[in-house]
Structures are given as structure tokens and as C-alpha cells.
Amino acid sequence: MTEKPIQGEKRVFMTGNEVVAWAALAADAEIMYGYPITPQNEIMHYWTRLAPKHGRRFLQTEDEISAGFTTVGGVLAGRRAFTATAGPGNTLMQEALSMAEMMRIPIVQVVTQRGGPSTATVIYSQQEVTMTCFGGNGEGARIVYSTSTHQELYDYTIKAFNTAWKYRFPTHVLGDGYQSKMRESLTMYDPQARGIDMVPTEPSLGNEGTPGVDREPNHLRNTYNTEDELYDVVTNIMSDWEKYAPEIAEYQEYDVEDADVLVIAHGVVTRAAQAAVKELRAQGKKVGHFRPVTLRPIAEEQLRKRVEQAKSVLVVESAYGQLRKILDNAIYGLTTPITNFFKPGEGVTADEVVEEVNKLL
């Protein structure tokens, strides 16, 4: 056994992509499959430098379709495998993620969102929310963590492996190019030292013994002959997904108890929302912030409670309503007026949020 990549705890100042590579190492990820795309590249750069020193592996594939499907293969072989991509690469990867959704393959995908549609811009956006949550020809049986700080990138990359292997749903760390490229302080740690045990992995293909002699063969498929067969498979997947959703869903709240205006934002935009709330509270204004950490599943019950309490809601995102659609679905039937502040592909500042909130007060 090679030495642990991180002994105890370590305070560092680094880019988000470097953080993800270290987190995957600390989480005992065994193999990464990937294809170059900005702003994800440095996850591979750091992984390929660090991995051989710790007995881990890497394969650079011919495209993101292959990166997705080789990751599926690695997981089926029983390895803690992952991939990372962005934008058009995420589009190509949806095919493999659809297979993972159907076959309950615990694949981990890190997404560093860039602008869209199409090639668009290479650094920042929140326009991969719909695709990451609901891409592919499926029902969206996926788990999506939307991170906002480098500490969270570290924490949730480790957590994503455990969530994936515990519940056997494709699990996604949804970051963005700002988080990928900027440097920030965080504490890296050995998960075990903090009492976090990595959920053990197991092979779906290639177990001990001769199939048909010592044991039954594993015959894995995603194609079905009859509508009834498929119906049973999908309803089983979704009933598990619904059963586990409440224990998977995560959120954060800031000054929401007596808030007249509730600001809802996710990912890096929560930082602007948090700063705005702080500033407005200092002026004595009753403003709060609800931040979904998991976009899929969304913390529906808590979200409904807060929206119902508020007199007005402001939805802020660096996309044209991708978060809003998820919220609408969760709060259907509530009558609190909702205002949008959409900046597709652009960052949001605290000042802008303050200005938008003031219009509602």
C-alpha cells in the first residue's frame, strides 16, 4: 500500500481543478478516464502527475463519449473510477450517463461548467444545470452537488464517491470555470482521519469463480423486450430514487427565518447572494437566502416552507432559468411572487443582488 496522499490535515492555497485531483486521490479513486476540454483540463494535469506516485491510473480517451463509457467499464470492473468534463464534452457524455442511470452504475462525474449552448465560452457559466440533472433519455435518477467554494469542491468530490457507491446513482460534482481556475484557501484532509470511511466498491463483472459452475453469471443489460419489463425496471429505479432523495438532499440557509425577500441561488452565485444578504441585513432589511446544495434531488420540503414564508422571491443564476425550472417544479402551487435575475454565462456580484433586492422591498 502506498503512503496516503494526505496525512492528517493540510492548509493549502490552490486552484479548484487541483483541489479536485487531490480530493479524488484522498478518496482512494483508482482510475480516471478523460478527454481534454477547458476549463476542466487541469484536473487531468494534476491527476496524471499525482496518480503514478500513488499507484493510480489514467486513460486519455478519443472523446468524451469514450471517456464516459470507459468510466462505466472501470466502475463495472469494481474500481472507484471517475471522469471530468464541461460544456460540449458533457453533452457527449450524456449517452454513457444514461446507461449508468439505467444500470445503477455508480459513476462519478465532475463538471466544470462553461458557457453554452454549443461551444460558447470556455470559463464560466451555470448553464449545465439542466443537462447534468436531466441529460440523456431518462428520468434524471442522478445526484448533483453544486459547489461554491474550494473547500466544498474538496468535501463534495470525496462525498460524491461515497454517495455514488452507497446509493448506486450516477453522482455529479457541478462546479464551474471560476471555481476551476481561481486560487483559494482550504483544508485538505485524509477522510479517514475525520471519520469518513470510503464506501467499499465491488465488481459487477469479473467476480471470483467460474460462471455457470461456481456461481451464476452476471448478465447486465439495458435493453428490454417488452414495455412491462421496462416499466418494472424504471419504476424500481425511481422508487429507490424517491425513497433516498430526502436523505440525499442538502441545502443551506442564511437569515431566512423572518425574511420578506428570499434570494435563491446555487453554486458560486450563492457567494454573491450571501454577501448581499449580509449587507442588506446591516441596513436592517429583512432579506434571507436559500441555497440548494443538491440540485437533484432538491430539498423540496424546506424550499417550499421558505418560499411560502417570504413575501417575495428573487432567483439569481448565471443561466436563463435552468435553476428556476427546478424550483418551479418543487414549489408548484405556491403563490409567492417570483422575480428572475438571469445572467446567462456571466458572473453575478453582490452589488447586483443588492440592487435587485432593493427593487422588491
Partner: protein, 251 residues
Amino acid sequence: MSVAVPQMPQCWRRETKAHKFCPGCGHGLVLKALGEAIDELGIQDKIIFGCDIGCSLLAWDFFNVDTVQTHHGRTTPVITGVKRANEDVIGIAYMGDGGGYAIGSQHLVNAASRNEKITVILVNNTNYGMTGGQMAPTTLPKQKTETSPYGRDVESTGNPTQGPEMVAAITPESAYVARGTVSNVRQLKKYIKRALENQISGNGFSFVEALSGCPTNWRTNAAETWKFIEEDMTEYFKVGELKVPSKKKEG
């Protein structure tokens, strides 16, 4: 009363026989050659078998070996991913000509270029069988299909893909490349066996194309089917070994 059970390779799964391929389909013969090769090499416990979309998916429960049915063209990367993650297994990617030469051609080309230590077995029946007989990369000139109803016009659709020739051109000397046919199962089995041995010895990529028949979509009787495989197809697709590591090639 005793019922005569046809001779089957030991690694075939009897519970799922008779198989689900159309009468006269060549897949059963290719899978028989593969099954016998697995038996003779004694590697049933090491095999990870991947099958594609198209008729090849019907092999998802064919063997008593661990099996995964993937998407159209994606069996090559899935088996690549398995093998990269666990070098102790013997990975077989089983697909048709559409899966290997059209929708998954980038995977075949790059897996071959990287000299992945996997075995690809590709069944060439000159059309898309499962979807109802459309033109494939391998459809012969002037051959009628559902999307070339007046016969394949090579001026507008190009010439049939010669897969093994392409794979042989882009792989290093340690790769194994051959083209067999269901009209010579003993030879086909020998090629498949050598392909598997090449993987077992860690040499490199191994690839076998099997010429096969599709009487349902060709709308041919037994005699016409056999003639098409033995005469028409082999005129264009030369049977033999194209690349044999450190051995004299045959054919």
C-alpha cells in the same frame, strides 16, 4: 423419452438456448466458434464479454460468462475501461459492422491505435440487421438494402469499409488481425483463438472480422445466402490473417 440435445460449447448457457437470432443468421456460428475457442483455452472464468446494440445485443445472456450489453458502437470503450481497470480479465467486445465501422468507428480506430489489450470480434453481414436492413459501411457495390433500394451507388456512398485492412494499417506489429467467415467455422475458430491468445500473452490489440449471413434482410434462401457469403462477399472481403505477431501469416 430422451431428447437429443445438440452439441454445444461448454461455456454456452443452456438455459438461454435455443438462441434468439433469426433462422439462418450467422451470429450463432460465430458464437459457437467463440465458445469453442473459450473452452479450448480454458478461460471461461476470466472472460468479460461485451455486446453492442444491433443483433449482437441478443448475445447478452448467451454464455456462462460475465456479460455487459452496452450502447451502439460503445462496446469497445466499455471493454477498454474494464481491461484498463482490471488487467487480469480477458475482455471481448462483440459487435456488428455498423457498431464497429460506423457509429463506433472512432473507438475502434483509437483502441487499435493505442494497442488496447482487448479482443474485438466484429460480425460483417453487409447491413443493419436489427433495424430492418439498411445500408451499412460494408454493403457491397450495387447491393440492395432499405436505404439503397436501387443498389449501393459507390459514387455517392463510397466503397465498402475494409475493416481488418484498416486495423492492420494502424496497429503495431504486436497486434493480431484476421478475417474469417462462417462458411469455414474451423478456420474462424482458429482465428478467434489466436486473437484471444494474443490478448492473454499481453501482446496487444486483437481483431477478427467474421463474414456472416443475414437471410432475413437479404431476402435470400439457404442456397442464395451461402453463395453470397462464400462468393460475393469474399470477392471483396479477403479471408485470411492480416497480422500475426511473430508468426508467418496464413491466407
